[in-house]
C-alpha cells in the first residue's frame, strides 16, 4: 500500500516508517502538515496515518481537508490526546481509526492491515495471476509447490506488476509507485530491480513472464 505518514517528531516518525516499509508498504514520511496537504493532492494514497499535533496544519485539519477533496482512503489518527471528547473530534473529522500514543508497532501494523481489508481494491491476502501467487503478509511468491521469499523492494515491484497485469508500465510509473516522495532513486534503479526480480522468477521457472517492451517499459503476463 502507498501510505502517507505524518508525524512531526522524527524520533517517532522514523521507526514507524521503517516498520511499515519492512512489511512491504511504500511510505511517504513527512514532518509537517503543509507538505502533507500538498502531497495528498499529488499522490493517490491507500492510507493516511496522521499525528494530531503538527506544525502549521494540524492532523485534524488535514483529515478534514482530505475528506473535503472527496478522497476516500482510510485515515488513521495517532495522538497523545486520549479523552473521549478528543476521540470523538478525531473520528468526526473523518478519521477511520484512532490510536493513542505510545503506539504499539504491532498494533499499528494490525490496524493498517485491517484498514487495508476495507479498501475497495482489497483482493485478499493473496494476489494471483494464473498459477503465480503473491502472499501479501509474508512477502512470498509461490508457484505450484515452489515458494520463494522476496525482499521488500522486489515484493513491492511484484505487487505493483500483479495489480496491473498485462499492462505496459513505464519506468517513470514504476519509479513513482515504488519510491517514496522526495527520494531520488539512481537512474538505473528500476532496471536493476527488474533484473533482480527476473532472477527470482527464474527459480520458479517464470522468468519470461516479466517482459521488457522496448522503448516503453515492462509488462507482466502469463505466456500461456
Amino acid at each position: 500500500m502507498l501510505i502517507l505518514l505524518v508525524e512531526d517528531d522524527s524520533a517517532q516518525l522514523e521507526p514507524l516508517q521503517t516498520a511499515l516499509s519492512k512489511v512491504g508498504h511504500i511510505v511517504d514520511a513527512v514532518q509537517d502538515g503543509e507538505t502533507a496537504s500538498w502531497l495528498i493532492k499529488e499522490r493517490e494514497y491507500d492510507l493516511l496515518i496522521l499525528d494530531w499535533m503538527l506544525p502549521k496544519v494540524s492532523g485534524i485539519e488535514l483529515c478534514r481537508h482530505y475528506r473535503n477533496l472527496n478522497l476516500a482512503a482510510p485515515v488513521l489518527m495517532i495522538t497523545a490526546k486520549d479523552t473521549t471528547a478528543d476521540k470523538v473530534t478525531g473520528l468526526d473529522a473523518g478519521a477511520d481509526d484512532y490510536i493513542v500514543k505510545p503506539v504499539d508497532v504491532l498494533e499499528l501494523l494490525a490496524r493498517v492491515r485491517a484498514l487495508g481489508r476495507r479498501s475497495p481494491l482489497w483482493q485478499g491476502e493473496m494476489i494471483e495471476l494464473a498459477d503465480l501467487r503473491l502472499d501479501l503478509t509474508h512477502l512470498t511468491l509461490e508457484r505450484g509447490v515452489d515458494n520463494i521469499q522476496l525482499s521488500v523492494k522486489e515484493f513491492q515491484l511484484m505487487e505493483y506488476l500483479m495489480r496491473h497485469p498485462r499492462q505496459v508500465l513505464s519506468r517513470d510509473q514504476i519509479e513513482q509507485a515504488l519510491w517514496s516522495w522526495g527520494s531520488e532513486p539512481e537512474s538505473n534503479a528500476v532496471t536493476t530491480l527488474v533484473r533482480r526480480l527476473r532472477q527470482r522468477l527464474e527459480t520458479l521457472g517464470a522468468k519470461d513472464w516479466l517482459e521488457t517492451v522496448y522503448g516503453m517499459g515492462y509488462r507482466l503476463h502469463s505466456p500461456n
Binding site: 512531526d8 517528531d9 521507526p15 516498520a19 499535533m53 490526546k81 500514543k101 503506539v103
Partner: protein, 426 residues
C-alpha cells in the same frame, strides 16, 4: 459544563431576586389598599358628620321628627358624586327619609362600617357594584335619636387599585426578565475565574501527556522495530538501541525536571543558602555560553559592575534559573542577533536583565509562559524548543528567593526577562 453552571446561577439569581421582588410588591400593594381604604373611610365619615350636623331633629312624643331641609349636597366633590344614597332611620330602625337610591327591602341597620354588593338595573342591564356604607347613630344630648346611613360607591377606589394591580402584573414579569438577564450576565463574570483555571488545568494535562508520551512512544517503537529486524541485521539493531538510549536520556531529563519542580516548591533548603557574589556567578555562567554565541554568530554582551554584589541565595538553583533564561535567549535569537546580560544593583534590590533581539513572544501567550509545559508553539515541535518547563523552573527558583521575574516582549523585536532579587539588609 460552564454553560450549565452559568444557567443555574442565573436561574437561582432570578428566582431569589424574583421572590424578594414579589414579596415586596405584595406588601406594598397590601399597604396601599389599607391606606386608601382608611382615607376613603375618613372622607365618608367627615361627610356623614357634616350631614348629621346639618340635620335637625324635633322630639314628637316618643319619636323624633327629622328635618333634612338644611342638608346640602351642593358643594359637590368627588366623593359626593359617588354617594349612592343617604338614609335616616329612627331609633327603631324605621326608615324616615332617604335621598338617592331607594331601598327595595327593609334592611338591617347596624351601626358601623359595611362593605356590600348591590345590584341594580341601568337601562335594563343588570349591574352590580360594591359600596361602602357607614351607619352613624344620631344622638341628641346623649339620647339616641336615630341613625344616619350613607353609602358610597367603591368604584373610584377599585379603579385606582386596579391600576396598581395592572402596573404590578406588568412590572413584575418585566423586572423578573430583567433580573434573569442580569443574572446571566453576572454568571458570565462569576464563571470566568473557574473557567480560566479549568482551561489552564486542561492545557497542562494535555501538554504533560504529550511531553511524557513522546519519548515513551519513540522508545517503544524503536524497541519493537529492533525486535522485528532479522537476527543477522546487527546494524539495524544497533541503530535501534542507540535511538532508545537517546530517547531514554531525554525522558530522564524530563522526569528530573518534573521532580525538581515538585521538590523545590516553596522554601529553600537552609543548608544550601549562602552569601554569594552575583558578579562572579554571572561571569562564570556567561563563560559557558561564549561558544554557542560564536557558533550562532551572536553578539553576547555581559554588563557587570566592578565591585561584588552579594545576595543570600542557593547558588546552584540561581545558576539553573539564569541558565534556563539564557538557553531560551540563545534558542530563540536568530543568527546575527544580540544578547545582553546586565546586573544592576539598586539600594534594596538587585536586577538581572537578560535581553535578546529574538523572535519575541506573542502578546496572547505572555500570561501563560510561566505555566508548566506551556509552549508558544502549539504543535510542540521537538526540533525547535524544549518541553516547556524552563521558565516554570526559573520562576519557581526566583520565587523561592522572594524575588520576582517579569517578561517584556515584542514579537519579532525581542524579549527582556528581568529578575529582581531582594538584597539582605546590611
Amino acid at each position: 459544563m460552564f454553560e450549565r453552571s452559568r444557567r443555574r446561577l442565573a436561574y437561582w439569581f432570578a428566582l431569589s431576586m424574583g421572590s424578594i421582588l414579589i414579596l415586596f410588591a405584595f406588601t406594598v400593594y397590601h399597604r396601599q389598599v389599607k391606606d386608601q381604604m382608611r382615607e376613603f373611610d375618613a372622607r365618608i365619615y367627615d361627610q356623614a358628620k357634616r350631614i348629621a350636623a346639618s340635620t335637625t331633629y324635633q322630639k314628637q312624643g316618643e319619636s323624633w321628627l327629622i328635618d333634612t331641609e338644611n342638608v346640602s349636597l351642593r358643594d359637590r366633590n368627588a366623593l359626593e358624586s359617588k354617594i349612592i344614597y343617604i338614609r335616616w332611620y329612627d331609633f327603631q330602625q324605621r326608615l324616615l327619609q332617604f335621598t338617592g337610591y331607594s331601598p327595595h327591602q327593609r334592611s338591617q341597620v347596624t351601626p358601623g362600617w359595611q362593605t356590600q354588593k348591590y345590584d341594580f338595573h341601568l337601562k335594563g342591564q343588570p349591574l352590580s357594584k360594591h359600596l361602602r356604607r357607614l351607619t352613624l347613630p344620631l344622638k341628641d344630648d346623649g339620647s339616641p335619636v336615630g341613625y344616619l346611613q350613607i353609602a358610597v360607591s367603591l368604584g373610584p377606589l377599585q379603579t385606582s387599585l386596579a391600576r396598581s394591580r395592572l402596573f404590578l402584573s406588568l412590572g413584575i414579569p418585566i423586572a423578573l426578565t430583567f433580573t434573569g438577564v442580569v443574572g446571566w450576565i453576572l454568571g458570565h463574570f462569576a464563571m470566568q475565574p473557574a473557567k480560566r483555571s479549568y482551561e489552564q488545568l486542561q492545557r497542562f494535562t494535555a501538554d504533560a501527556s504529550h511531553e511524557l508520551r513522546a519519548p515513551i512512544a519513540a522508545i517503544l517503537s524503536n524497541a519493537q522495530v529492533g525486535l522485528l529486524a532479522s537476527e543477522d541485521d546487527d546494524q539495524e539493531r544497533d541503530q535501534r538501541l542507540s535511538n532508545i538510549v537517546i530517547q531514554s536520556k531525554s525522558m530522564s531529563s524530563l522526569v528530573a525536571n518534573l521532580l525538581f519542580l515538585a521538590r523545590h516548591e516553596g522554601q529553600l533548603n537552609p543548608q544550601d543558602v549562602a552569601n554569594i557574589d552575583l558578579v562572579e556567578l554571572l561571569s562564570s555562567i556567561a563563560e559557558g555560553y561564549i561558544d554557542s554565541a560564536i557558533d550562532k554568530d551572536l553578539r553576547f554582551e555581559v554588563d557587570l559592575p566592578a565591585s561584588p554584589v552579594e545576595v543570600h541565595s542557593d547558588r546552584d538553583l540561581l545558576q539553573r534559573a539564569i541558565g534556563n533564561l539564557l538557553d531560551n535567549a540563545f534558542k530563540y535569537t536568530p543568527n546575527g542577533g544580540k544578547i545582553t546580560m546586565r546586573l544592576e544593583p539598586k539600594p534594596r534590590q538587585v536586577l538581572i536583565k537578560i535581553m535578546d533581539t529574538g523572535i519575541g513572544i506573542p502578546e496572547v501567550d505572555l500570561p501563560h509562559i510561566f505555566d508548566r509545559f506551556y509552549r508558544v508553539d502549539k504543535a510542540r515541535t521537538r526540533e525547535t524548543g524544549g518541553v516547556g518547563l524552563g521558565l516554570a523552573i526559573a520562576r519557581q527558583i526566583i520565587k523561592a528567593h522572594d524575588g520576582k521575574i517579569t517578561v517584556v516582549s515584542e514579537a519579532e523585536k525581542g524579549t527582556t526577562v528581568q529578575i529582581c532579587l531582594p538584597l539582605q539588609p546590611q
